[in-house]
Symmetry: C2
Subunit: 672 residues, 2 copies
């Protein structure tokens, strides 16, 4: 390294004067060749001018390279960097704070913060109670399970979670998936106890999956659910959920349990009934409240309180008019009391183990994606950091604890967190306030829900999931990227016409296939010189870029590996062939320059491709030159050189400009 | 575009003098800041100097972009480009030649070419006959099927194939896989007829898969079998085959049919017998012949003729000494006659349909990979082109025809093609010569094989597959790339300890996962200025590169998409945080430059990441600047600008140098 910097030091005075010479030379060959003049002295000087060496990465052992890779893969956020250089005592405090983020904000908690959190907590409680009851029904579970799930998990999250805005509780999509997956094996009406056991067991596995992803630092797995996939998936799921709710909304008793759009619509049109009026009224009310809150964000509390208000008003209406006797179905009596332990209900029977594990995996990953995305969104709004892996552990532990205390899958819900944020929450204390409010409800207010009509719960669900259909986002995706839109559409159609899980799997598969195709068919471009500069750019993009006669400058924009060497080989040879056949004697192709600036990595097949290409190009009497290989590529080229000296230093250049300056002398001299 | 080139025209005189100013300015800020001097006039001029605009790609409709993408994906070789501008009659001739490559060489075929092909054809026939018999036994098929398979398929290939060196016939790996997959469902000894039917049906499906891949131009699918995968897989399969052959070689009668290494070794040590001596002798002979041919390539004919010589000598020995009565097992009587039609034997019974389709898929893809790779290897040696998709159609049709004429899966074998090449073959006529020789054998010479001992066939197989264990290639992979070696090792261990198919699936899975990981955790680098130049390079690789105070220059070397935006976001923010906290007032970070030269594509998540990053950086009072976005990225940035003007032209630069020159004025003025 000393020798290398020494080499540069020697040229330091010539640095300023180097550029103009090169700039002249770059354009010179064409003119010189066209007019047939002998190379001027200046050009010769340029051709012999300063050429920078391509450096290899500093030598590193395989072990230390592996360590670096493992670190970037699993610890990209370097969670322990604040530990470095601290005394042991401070490290213990930091570790405790890392594990229990509550310790970060609780010591400095003040009354003014609590005032904000109290308002926010009460607001989300007013949402959580009706939504909890509704979503539990969506998952074919007893309504009280939804309230239980809004009590224990928020308390656990308040201790372990690092987001200040997340409002924890059951969510519509995970409820829908759990209900529909478990129903395929067990009927919730025929075997309610078994169904409940399976739900708790699935919740346990969901928590286990979530916590494991966090502990094993495999959080990047949820990154494979792209925005486009989620937009399509959510919209499809929202439509499926809404259609299912038509049952409650229209007061239909014998409804199809199938998930497809066709049987559901057929079932709807077979029935009409007086409940419809009530359902339609409350749905319009809720949607109007939602619209007001979207239009004027200051009035967010209107949509936040609308569900509870609807529940109260509809319950009163039913109670006063004894509507339950006129065909309107009601929740019925609910027992007062807090969550009972349910660890004895976890069922690890081999008959259902596969089902519960699969359900846990799917609901776990879906709810984790929602929770982490919501946490990140609000963290970036308020400009604080949320650690994805830590969040996963928090959500996972929350679900494991939940599965032992009569709760089903919970996560941070987008709509409720948005209300929480708008209501001015400051810390996770708002979750505690919400949980305590739910506790009071569970202990004392359950009898009030006896007359709550199911139709209002259906209206609440529909009003909530309508928000998941994000048409502007879909339009934006369409405008930006047609392939992304295709992924979105596949997720949507798959969920609606096939099933929730398979639709998701198809969309993820297409996303990954698309990424692989980008590697398999990488972009290769011909570059030209931008007149009057030393800059070389893609001819297609920069109309002012001009071909350098005698040179073919190609860029590859992908790692070169087994998946694309055949393609690159064929493509390059076709280009060279086209060039060789088209040129006349004056502008005949002499040098092929391969710009490797955009090649981040290369594997053994890739090195074999470069060697083959070099041989084949030299067979045609041309020269191959590599420009600006990155560290990793350079390292492999050097290793290939160790065996056979394929790539001597004179075919490696730091910039295209230098390569052309130094080779145009050669190219011209080779002309007869 | 006219306006743009006009803009350049205006500066054409200033072009030469621009560069030095910039070069000065690039290094100026540091010195200027350190000594606290006010910016000189020259620097100011540089800062206000010529800045090139980032151009977008020329507008293109979605349909024409899609067309371009489809063309690059499925027709990267542009097979019809020679058709353009030709009269209709010439197009018909070209089409006929395209479909039947035999028409390309047959019209100009001469006696001298035939002489070469005759020698080569006879040489490979002497290999094909003993290998055909041996490989059929490897697939648990009657020996004569191996000879049938060396007769019809070569004739079909001679008409349809575009490789001049490929020697077609049964191969060891495909035989092994077919035998072991079918044996899992049907016993070849208990139900030989059913087994044969399944073999023909699998061959039919293999041909169908191969031809479909060619016709649908999905040939790139076989590219996913990387070199590393194949080296490991071949070595593992060779060991499995050799161990299985110990049965014949050691004269063991009750041998295990399991594929694992443990039961095979256990079975070997339970038995010893007099056949061993004969087997060992011929194996040593064959290996010695192989060694001689590798050492002195001129004597390739020694290893080419050794198998036939061994068969003749051993048959004579058995015949003379009546060794069959002393426990040496022999082939027994074989019926004379050519291939009988077998289309009536194709079995599409639902019971076995899944098995035969799966077997066809696996053997089809494996044999296709071998055939295409062999064709490409020798084509590149003799410098002619082999069209991968056309080869697939040829090999596929050959197998479909084969399945109707009592043949099992065939392809171009590496060892035989190498012999063909060394023997001086010129065209596919050598395959015809070989087929005719096999035909003569089938018609008249079958009784001669009655006394051929099975032990020699085992020795021939072992000697052939030993060549598949490519230790130098494995060592080379280890030296070049440790991850590739891991893939190789997994394929090897998977084949040996699990099963042939699963070993292959694991290795392919790891290869793809590795590619995905490169996308999920892309390399991000900090760049610095190489002293005395306008060149910016990775600080880690170029020790002489120096940080530009006040600037953080980051490069991303991967497409920015859903799989990595979270990582990039966290990583970038951590870098900015580190920078902001470490710098003193003088060198305080002011501008973050994101060099997008190596970002070939971006999706909607990626654009959202850039917008978020810009907002968050501006919140910290810093500026974000993008350098050299490629065409596709620029297009998406423009579309994002259509909605909200996030990226104004003043935060897009063509080169890092220009960005720094133009912003260092700003940066310095911002210093109090």
């Amino acid at each position: 390294m000393v020798g290398m910097s020494g080499a540069y030091g020697g040229h330091s005075n010539g640095g300023e004067s180097r550029a103009p010479k090169e700039a002249v030379v770059v354009r010179a060959p064409k003119e010189a060749v066209v007019v047939g003049a002998p190379p001027s002295e200046m050009e010769m000087a340029g051709a012999m001018g300063v050429v920078h060496k391509v450096a290899a990465q500093p030598a590193q052992s395989t072990a230390s390279k592996m360590k670096g890779k493992v670190k970037e893969t699993f610890f990209p956020d370097d969670p322990f960097r604040s530990f470095k250089g601290q005394p042991l005592r401070a490290q213990w405090v930091l570790a405790a704070r890392y594990l229990f983020p509550v310790l970060e904000w609780l010591p400095g908690y003040s009354l003014s913060l609590f005032k904000s959190d109290l308002v926010a907590g009460l607001t989300i409680a007013s949402l959580a109670i009706p939504q909890g009851i509704s979503y539990a029904k969506l998952a074919n579970l007893p309504p009280i399970i939804g309230l239980y799930s809004s009590f224990v998990p928020p308390l656990v999250y308040a201790v372990l979670g690092s987001s200040r805005d997340l409002a924890v509780g059951p969510v519509s999509i995970a409820s829908l998936i759990m209900g529909s997956m478990l129903r395929q094996a067990v009927s919730p009406s025929a075997e309610p106890m078994l169904f409940l056991q399976l739900a708790f067991t699935s919740t346990f596995f969901a928590g286990l999956v979530q916590a494991s992803l966090g502990i094993l630092r495999l959080g990047f797995i949820i990154d494979f659910l792209s925005k486009a996939t989620l937009v399509g998936f959510m919209a499809g799921a929202a439509i499926i959920v809404s259609l299912q709710q038509l049952k409650a909304l229209l007061g239909i008793v014998h409804f199809t349990t199938q998930m497809g759009i066709v049987p559901v619509m057929a079932s709807v049109f077979q029935h009409t009934n007086e409940t419809m009026l009530m359902g339609a009224c409350f749905l319009v009310l809720l949607l109007a409240a939602r619209h007001v809150s979207i239009r004027w964000p200051k009035f967010f509390w209107i949509s936040a309180c609308a569900p509870l208000a609807s529940v109260i008003v509809s319950t009163l209406l039913v109670f006063l008019f004894k509507a339950q006797n006129h065909g309107i179905s009601i929740i019925g009596s609910l027992k007062c009391g807090l969550n009972r332990p349910s660890w004895d209900k976890l069922l690890f029977d081999p008959t259902y183990l596969g089902l519960t594990m699969k359900t846990g995996l799917v609901t776990g990953i879906i709810s984790l994606t929602e929770g982490v995305a919501v946490g990140r969104t609000f963290a970036s709004l308020k400009d604080y950091q949320v650690d994805g892996n830590k969040e996963m552990m928090a959500i996972g532990l929350m679900n494991i604890v939940g599965s032992c205390t009569s709760c089903y899958v919970t996560t941070g819900a987008f709509s409720r967190s948005a209300v929480n944020h708008n209501a001015g929450c400051k810390t996770a204390m708002s979750n505690v306030v919400m949980a305590l409010t739910v506790m009071v409800t569970l202990l004392f207010l359950m009898p009030l829900f006896v007359y709550t009509p199911n139709v209002v719960l259906g209206a609440i669900i529909i009003a909530a999931v309508i928000g998941l259909i994000d048409l502007p986002a879909a339009y934006n995706i369409w405008k930006m990227d047609k392939m992304d839109f295709l992924v979105c559409l596949c997720a949507f159609a798959g969920v609606i016409f096939i099933s929730v899980q398979e639709g998701l799997a198809i969309a993820v598969g297409i996303s990954i296939f698309r990424v692989l195709m980008q590697i398999t068919r990488p972009r290769m471009m011909i570059q030209g010189n931008i007149k009057g500069t030393d800059i070389y750019r893609n001819l297609h993009q920069y109309k002012e870029a001009q071909r350098v006669p005698g040179f073919l400058i190609l860029t590859i924009e992908a790692p070169i590996n087994f998946a694309n060497t055949n393609y690159l080989n064929e493509r390059t040879k076709r280009w060279i062939e086209d060039e060789s056949s088209s040129g006349n004697k004056q502008t005949e192709l002499r040098v092929v320059i391969l710009d490797l600036s955009a090649v981040p990595a290369i594997d053994t097949s890739g090195i074999a491709f470069l060697i083959d290409l070099k041989k084949s190009i030299e067979k045609h009497g041309l020269e191959l030159v590599l420009v600006n290989p990155t560290g990793e590529v350079m390292e492999k080229i050097q290793r290939a050189n160790d065996a056979h000296n394929h790539f001597r230093p004179d075919c490696l250049y730091l910039t295209t400009g230098e390569a052309i300056a130094s080779l145009s002398g050669f190219a011209k001299m080779a002309t007869p």
